[in-house]
Amino acid sequence: MSGFLQALFLQAGYNAALVAVGAALLGFAAGAGGSFLFLRKRALVSDAVAHATLPGVGLAFIVMVALGGDGRSLPGLLIGSALSAWLGLLAVGWLVQRTRLSEDAAIGAVLSVFFGLGIVLLTVIQSMSQGRQAGLEGFLLGSTAGMLFQDAILIAGGGAVVVALIWLLRRPMTMVAFDPGFAAARGVDVRRVDLAMMGLVLAVTVIGLKLVGLILIVALLIIPPVTARFWSERAETVVWTAGVIGAVSGYVGAALSASAPALPTGPIIVLISAALFALSLLFAPARGVLASVLSRRAFQTRVHRRQGLLALSRAEPIHDPLTVKILHREGLMRADGVATDAGHAAGAKISRDERRWSIARKQHYDTALTGRYDGLTPIEDVFTADEIAHFDAALPRRV
């Protein structure tokens, strides 16, 4: 535990601090960048992008060794991965536009074929005598143990550039994500904005390869945006919230993994963001499961209370157990089923309001007002006292 706290406050050594800051920046960039993809309903494109990086890594290694280099220079590998991921993206787009395959089939085809090619190249590399290929498998699942200062700088710098670009492009990207037709009508070049969006996702993927690996970077692009969506209805808030969630996951995950040698960084970061997702799914104020259960219960109570009071005012017996319970709990009905004074009053008011509503719906042609009749809205909330008095005058006299 103390090791974790140390790491959390950047006291666990230079390297651990470097990784934690890098992971936080990467998490922020991934969360914010992934948001646009999620809002555009293309979350799984990131899956194809991530898998499509592998052949690029392999080819870059082979080329660098063939040119007499070490083969493991990170910038070289990243350039290779970016190129092949770009090709993968183009392939997805081509399949969707030029053939009748749907987007999910295109994504699946590209990710499996590119990944297969990448695995083939990895086995080629394993049989090569030159070059030290050790560590290349780290691109599959990520490895931070061998992270050098230059690598961390690359991740941090790349993450910062991506975040800056997201900030610059947030308006057009939001517009395109929500309503491409409207955006096009406003003069936004949808194709170009889409390209920029994909470019950002690609950049995040390539930067994140070293840290979390190509399979798990998908998680960082998808989970924080979905989580953030629970907390806000506003696109821009979702983007930055997703960034913060990604940053927290990255930072806490890196700290946790630094405190225990057997905890691999990539999976831990993903699992922390998954935990944040689960918490949001359950407890988010407006869209969470708990909130919707509560509001359902409240609605149920109102309906039952109203039906019960109507029955009371007509002196009908009530059999529904939930209605009995609610009326009893609120002191509107005695245990033997007879209304209390409060119950009589409330029942009389509800049944009078019911008659007022029926007059209102006959007399009033403003459907915006009468349309609010749902049996639960008190009539005073909709009409003024004068209007209600007017309805009362039209009520049939009770004999």
Partner: protein
């Protein structure tokens, strides 16, 4: 094409063929229903399933592994559906959240427990061990008639054949309801077909194919075979029956050429060692898909075959 071929290449090729066909068959319907990525999701969550099965039973025997994998696939499908409904999240994103989280959990468990010593590592899970499923007792084509030698066939072959046969039989029996509910769910519902149940059954048989094939050939082939042969077949014809036949043919071709290219291809160009058969099968299926995209008679968006 002598005894060496029978010994070292025949059974891997056959296993590859049956695995590819078992995955391609449900893949046809998954593609029509725009659920193609279910195969991708299932093959990722198989990992935590087999790790948990290993941790519980302590063995790497086949049946616990298969049960664990099937259990994980089931849990994943339920979780995806739960997230989609409870959170009102679009299916793709819900799938992404669940399968990446479960995969991360699987990797973590794998690193935490000392399973790497027993041939259970991520690389193996991805690439399978198609090359190692050899038939050592065979000494030529005659062994195909030799009962003793036949009893030493790799068990993966028998299993894969059985799984394929079951899936093929199910597809044949439920052909009409499957077809109706895949093309026009509303119409199928109006006819009184149990559409939800059919969908679940399809996903379950896809999961069975994925799990059985995963054990033998690794997850790359599984994902590629769910999507590439059916997608290529979809570009060849407008008739479902013909499409399924094409997809089986493409799956078979991918398995054969993929294995042969991986095993012998490098030798032809002068390299001394072979490359990953699983990866090569995926690559060949991609090449077939590319050819279908360029030349397939029904490749256009409109859905009307050229000249027909």
């Amino acid at each position: 094409m002598g005894s060496e071929f029978v010994q070292f290449s025949l059974t891997p090729i056959l296993i590859g063929i049956f695995a590819a066909m078992a995955c391609a068959l449900p893949g046809n319907f998954l593609i029509l229903r725009r659920q193609a990525l279910i195969g991708d999701a299932i093959s990722h969550v198989v990992l935590p399933g087999i790790v948990v099965a290993f941790l519980i039973t302590g063995t790497v025997r086949t049946w616990p592994m298969l049960l664990g994998a099937a259990g994980a696939a089931l849990v994943a499908v339920i979780l995806i559906e739960a997230v989609r409904r409870l959170g009102k999240i679009e299916p793709g994103a819900a799938m992404g959240v669940i399968f990446t989280s479960l995969f991360a959990g699987g990797v973590l468990l794998l690193e935490q427990s000392d399973t790497s010593s027993v041939h259970l590592d991520v690389e193996h899970a991805l690439m399978g061990n198609l090359e190692q499923l050899i038939w050592l007792r065979a000494d030529g084509w005659g062994s195909l008639l030799d009962l003793v030698a036949l009893s030493y066939l790799p068990p993966e072959l028998t299993r894969m054949v059985i799984v394929f046969a079951i899936i093929a039989a199910l597809t044949a029996v439920f052909w009409r309801p499957l077809k109706l509910s895949s093309f026009d769910e509303g119409f199928a519902r109006a006819l009184g077909l149990p559409v939800t149940l059919i969908g679940l059954g399809l996903v379950a048989s896809a999961a069975a194919a994925a799990v059985a094939a995963f054990d033998a050939v690794g997850s790359i082939i599984v994902i590629a075979m769910f999507i590439c042969p059916p997608a290529a077949a979809r570009l060849m014809t407008n008739r479902l029956g013909v499409q399924v036949a094409w997809s089986l043919a493409f799956a078979t071709l991918s398995a054969i050429f993929g294995y042969v290219l991986a095993g012998y291809g490098p030798l032809w160009i002068g390299a001394e060692s072979s490359v990953s058969a699983a990866g090569m099968v995926a690559v060949v299926s991609g090449l077939i898909l590319a050819a279908a995209c360029l030349f397939g008679p029904a490749r256009d968006r409109i859905g009307v075959a050229v000249g027909g």
